[in-house]
């Protein structure tokens, strides 16, 4: 990201988010117009609120977009954290961890997926001891698994470790 002279992190991001709001609002209005209005004595169908809320969202998006293009959003905090460079590697590792967990949990099972999630996120935060992280992860996920499945009679996938069945 390119810090501008005024010390603002990214006017581009602000403009982009504003545009996103305008588009999301328009999408909501459009979806609302597709809802079949069932006859009702209230005189208000299910399409009215999507129309109102979508319009509101677009309108706020426009206001924020105008602000972004005219000196940036108002009353932004100006502390040292906003001047930091982003660590996209950490961001990517954590995203990977969550998405991998999503793919694995139903297949490899809750314990394995959660242990991996834990170790990867710790890595994302700069931990250099994957072995220790995995042990801690198991100390959390194994009891949780048994509390759920044995104690509460709920189901969490056992996956590759089939002692839960």
């Amino acid at each position: 990201m390119n810090p501008s002279s005024s010390g603002r992190p990214s006017l581009g991001g602000e403009a982009l988010l504003s545009l996103g709001m305008v588009l999301l609002g328009a999408f909501v209005v459009w979806q609302g117009s597709l809802v079949k209005a069932a006859a009702s004595y209230s005189g208000i169908g299910p399409g009215l609120f999507p129309g109102l809320i979508g319009s509101g969202l677009s309108l706020i998006g426009l206001v924020l977009g105008w602000e972004a293009l005219n000196g940036g959003w108002r009353a932004m905090p100006d502390d040292e954290t906003t001047h930091q460079d982003a660590d996209w590697r950490a961001f990517g590792l954590i995203s990977l961890a969550v998405l991998l967990h999503m793919l694995l949990v139903g297949w490899a099972g809750f314990i394995i997926a959660s242990a991996l999630l834990y170790a990867l996120i710790a890595r994302g935060f700069g931990s250099t001891r994957p072995g220790r992280d995995l042990v801690i992860a198991l100390l959390i996920s194994v009891p949780v698994f048994f509390i759920f499945t044995r104690g509460l009679g709920l189901n969490l996938p056992a996956g590759w470790l089939t002692w839960g069945a």
Partner: protein
């Protein structure tokens, strides 16, 4: 950790209650999984867990597990059951009349004809109530109002497309009022509808007998009709719709279905297990405690019932314009 102690105690309690009835008998099935397409605690889940206890207490099936798959009126669970349990003779799913409506309302790509009907277990009749202070004394007072101005009668009940809604539409239709003209106010489950009726905010309430029974017994609500064929033995003073000239009978039934594509022999085996389970003291006790009406019907008789029930429900859902597409 304290929680593990608590759960161990709980597990012990569970185990001991399962050990109460250990009459050894021929074990036909090793393990069965019951899918409850609803969150724990709801009617379908309670049915699944009661059936689990009954099957295990009678030593009919050694190991029974309950799986919850809630969402979209049960149609998410149904879709999973149809695709991933195909041909599996060791799975069953709890479902009921509500799902026929939900399939249509949600535009579900799968439906009940794709699964194997096993047995209808229980049911609950619907009851029409007004607040004790209401001017409406009997059903004819209500139908007179309805005929004069359908909009002036607000019906309080469960979600749109639920049995409560469908019954209101059927009643309107049978007195010659356009069912799409009823002023139905949908409520989330639990006490929301009851509060609206007790507070006099809606004209009439419609819901399962069990939900209103305490208020009726306490005299806070007046029951003006019940949707059973005959008066119920334990509530003799509530007249049926039928005897008041409205030819509508409706029970919100719950049933067990088998996976798609299982053989006749596999189906017979499951039906035999359920036949045994409903005779266990555990099941009888469940019916008693929950005030569920025993509507047991298995095998072909259940299939025949379904063949008549499905089009009847579908027709009213379509009339109301609730079906998707």
């Amino acid at each position: 950790m304290k929680i593990t102690q608590a759960t161990r105690r709980l597990a012990a309690a569970l185990a001991s209650s399962a050990l109460l009835f250990t009459t050894p008998c021929a074990m036909a099935l090793e393990a069965v999984k019951i899918l409850a397409p609803a969150a724990p605690g709801g009617g379908w889940d309670q049915t699944a867990r009661s059936m689990q206890r009954a099957l295990q207490s009678g030593d009919i099936v050694k190991r029974v597990t309950v799986d919850n798959k809630p969402g979209a009126g049960g149609t998410i669970g149904l879709a999973q059951f149809v695709t991933s349990s195909k041909g599996d003779p060791q799975t069953m799913m709890v479902t009921g009349m509500v799902m026929i409506g939900a399939i249509l309302v949600n535009g579900s790509p799968v439906n009940l004809t794709q699964v194997t009907p096993l047995a209808r277990l229980t049911g609950e009749y619907e009851v029409l109530v007004v607040s004790a202070a209401s001017k409406i004394q009997k059903l004819s007072d209500l139908t007179a109002l309805l005929k004069a101005n359908p909009g002036s009668v607000s019906w309080g009940g469960g979600s749109a497309g639920a049995p409560d809604h469908l019954l209101a539409a059927m009643i309107a239709k049978s007195v010659g009022v356009d069912p799409t003209k009823i002023n139905y106010i949908a409520h989330a489950g639990g006490g929301e509808a009851q509060a609206a009726i007790l507070g006099g905010h809606v004209t009439v309430g419609v819901s399962g007998w069990g939900e209103f029974a305490p208020q009726i017994k306490a005299g806070k609500l007046r029951a003006i009709a019940i949707s059973s064929e005959q008066r119920l033995p334990d509530v003799k003073d509530v007249p049926t719709l039928k005897e008041q000239g409205i030819d509508v009978v409706m029970a919100n039934w719950r049933a067990l279905f088998g996976a798609p594509g299982i053989s006749e022999a596999q189906k017979a085996e499951l039906v035999a297990a359920i036949d045994k389970a409903v005779k266990t003291p555990s099941w009888k006790e469940t019916l008693d405690k929950n005030e569920w009406t025993d509507l047991y019907l298995s095998g072909d008789a259940f299939k025949k019932f379904l063949d008549a029930e499905q089009p009847r429900i579908a027709e009213i859902v379509n009339t109301l314009g609730l079906a998707k597409k």
